[in-house]
């Protein structure tokens, strides 16, 4: 609970904040896992947020087709409306078509950027409920992953997108290749297992929970809305890029003050690319310090520098699916559970 002193009991009635812990007390809704992909299945590519050119998605198309899948590029690919991959109405229509098209078994967002929030409330997800399919992406696409998990309880994939496929596969760094190949593994139904470096700041422990999370700033930006997430009993992962340390601190306070840290099964801290402090405004705390301070009242396992985020090493995570997080002084592993409920 939030530590609130000096306030008369009853002031913080739950019904004043219906979006906080909205599923509290409800029996958990069963998770829908879209069918894994088979050779010959089609992956749709669309731009719900930022823009991308036809040329820029070619490496992704070639690679995905080499895996034995077909691709279907939506008509937002190659569109540009300032920072967006087409006007709101165009991005909405393209994504909707991918949802509606029975041939499309997975929807790969071409890139993040900004803009998914513009169309989220206008998307009709009923076809997805009838025929679940994998939605794939991260960063700004966190809006979609959170919204779909919270409202439809359908699993998705948090991973690299088209703009991160290497132009020259032979020259790509091994972690980049492994990150891209993990998308294929996840889509094909392989059980996922990851390791992360042992860090002295990690907090040992072991726990099971559904894996949810994403870009920290994006999670904050949907708080209080219908896309907000309930993290109770979950393994939460977060990552971010280009934020000041003070802003990261403020966002972790936001997680805490919206009740998102107190009942976690575990916390997975991914990559945080820091924007340097302005001169004279040195924050004086690292991301390790910030997180350690915030999770001190709790006792679930915590790990840092997990390979998820805006860096090259960013493995596909099955969003919503139960995992086991194991943190020991010498190792960290995140393992998809073999029996999903």
């Amino acid at each position: 609970m939030l530590a609130v002193s000096g306030i008369a009991p009853g002031l913080f009635q739950a019904d004043r904040f219906p979006h906080v812990r909205e599923t509290k007390g409800k029996s958990p809704q069963p998770l829908l896992i879209p069918p894994y992909l088979k050779t010959g299945d089609t992956i749709g590519i669309t731009c719900p947020a930022g823009d991308i050119t036809q040329k820029e998605i070619q490496p992704a198309i070639q690679q995905i087709e080499s895996w034995g899948f077909k691709t279907k590029a939506g008509n937002t690919v190659g569109k540009k409306d300032f920072i967006y991959g087409g006007a709101d109405a165009e991005r909405l229509a393209d994504f909707q078509q991918m949802l509606d098209d029975p041939e499309v078994k997975a929807i790969l967002c071409a890139r993040g950027g900004y803009g998914a929030v513009h169309i989220i409330d206008q998307l009709n997800f009923s076809p997805l409920l009838q025929t679940p399919k994998w939605i794939i992406g991260f960063s700004d696409i966190t809006v979609l992953l959170c919204h779909i998990y919270s409202n439809l309880h359908i699993a998705s994939i948090h991973s690299k997108m088209c703009n991160s496929f290497p132009d020259d596969w032979a020259k790509a760094e091994p972690v980049q290749v492994a990150s891209i190949l993990s998308i294929r593994q996840a889509l094909s139904g392989e059980k996922m297992q990851y390791t992360a470096p042992a860090r002295q700041q990690n907090r040992p422990g072991s726990s099971d929970g559904q894996l949810i999370g994403g870009n920290l700033k994006t999670i904050e930006s949907i708080a209080g809305t219908s896309s907000d997430i309930d993290t109770a009993g979950k393994i939460l992962f977060v990552e971010d890029t280009g934020e000041y340390l003070y802003s990261i601190d403020r966002m972790f306070w936001h997680l805490q003050r919206t009740g998102k840290l107190d009942r976690l099964a575990g916390l997975v801290v991914g990559g945080f690319k820091i924007k340097p402090d302005d001169p004279g405004e040195e924050f004086g705390r690292t991301v390790y310090d910030i997180v350690t301070e915030r999770v001190k009242p709790y006792n679930y396992p915590v790990c840092f520098d997990f390979p998820v985020g805006h860096q090259k090493e960013n493995y596909a995570l099955k969003y919503g699916i139960p995992h086991t997080l194991l943190v020991t002084p010498g190792q960290v592993s995140l393992t998809e559970k073999t029996t999903t409920p």
Partner: protein, 308 residues
């Protein structure tokens, strides 16, 4: 019912504390001198110009204790925050408001101090003062209309402000309680126990140094959390030192706001003097004002009967 703290009289004490970022004492000297010239006594908290060597004016306990002491001190009639920055999120849930509830006093500031305004409004419905802080008194600011508006507000004079018209203004008139502050802070409070409820109120917003796309995202958050659809009126303040992405966002702040509220029909004015660029009139949150947006003029006037 909104509680209005007692207005200030000559001889009353105004405390200056820094609950967030660091401020050297000398930068507050003109403010201190001016408040004394106005007939008040000034009580300096330990967090103004303290021994801190980092971003904050002191560690969390120092900042909390300093603020708490001034909040509890029956001899202090108002607390003027020296500056904003960042830091109230870290202590807000540890502040004990019980004595403040028994004996309300004016809490004054803006920017990060928006958190105090929102929290106090949401939980206690006690009026606070969104107003210039210590640095605004420097370089002739003490005589400018903005610091003067703080003096008038503290003394209980009813505000009657006007501002230039803007082509995007939406005509209308409404009388309702005022709420608002820094957009980034209001977005940051969504989903927390400090989030204000804007329904039936006049909302004012300002911000500084934000990317245009981020302003758009924050307005989406307010909208999607039900904070824009049932306003009585909307006052768009100053959005200054804005940044854009390498690839231009393609819309100005005014256009972004206009597009977000096109389905509603409450009165709206743009360019109201509240914000980070010095044009920052004192506004009392939770207090009832009349917003008049006409084709030739805009006014925001405190209602004469706003005592309760």
């Amino acid at each position: 019912m909104t509680t209005i703290p007692p207005y200030l009289h000559p001889g009353d004490n105004i405390a200056i504390v820094c609950p967030a970022g660091y401020m050297p004492r000398e930068k507050a000297q003109t403010c201190i001198d001016t408040l004394e010239q106005w007939g008040y006594r000034v009580k300096i908290g330990r967090t103004l110009g303290g021994p801190s060597d980092n971003y904050f004016s002191g560690n969390d306990n120092d900042r909390l204790n300093d603020f708490q002491q001034m909040l509890d001190d029956p001899g202090v009639q108002a607390i003027l925050c020296g500056r904003g920055g960042y830091g109230l999120s870290r202590i807000i849930d540890r502040i004990d408001f019980s004595r403040f509830l028994q004996k309300p006093k004016w809490i004054i500031g803006y920017s990060d101090i928006t958190l105090l305004h929102a929290h106090i409004e949401a939980n206690f419905n006690i009026a606070t003062l969104h107003a210039p802080m210590a640095a605004a008194f420097n370089e002739g600011g003490a005589e400018a209309p903005y610091v003067q508006s703080l003096r008038q507000a503290m003394a209980g004079e009813k505000a009657a402000y006007s501002c230039p018209t803007h082509p995007f203004n939406r005509i209308g008139q409404t009388t309702a309680p005022l709420t608002g502050g820094n957009l980034a802070l209001l977005a940051h409070l969504a989903g927390t126990p400090s989030a204000t409820q804007t329904e039936g109120k006049i909302l004012f917003l300002e911000d500084v140094g934000e990317y245009l796309y981020n302003i758009d995202r924050m307005l989406w958050q307010l909208k999607r959390s039900g904070q824009l659809n049932r306003l009585a009126g909307f006052v768009i303040g100053r959005f200054t030192e804005l940044k854009d992405t390498t690839r231009p966002f393609g819309a100005t702040v005014e256009e972004i706001v206009r597009d977000h509220i096109k389905e509603y029909n409450y009165p709206v004015c743009f360019g109201f003097p509240v914000g980070h660029d010095g044009n920052n009139l004192a506004l009392k949150t939770s207090v009832t004002y009349t917003l008049t947006v006409a084709s030739g003029q805009v006014s925001l006037t405190e209602t004469k009967t706003s005592a309760g």
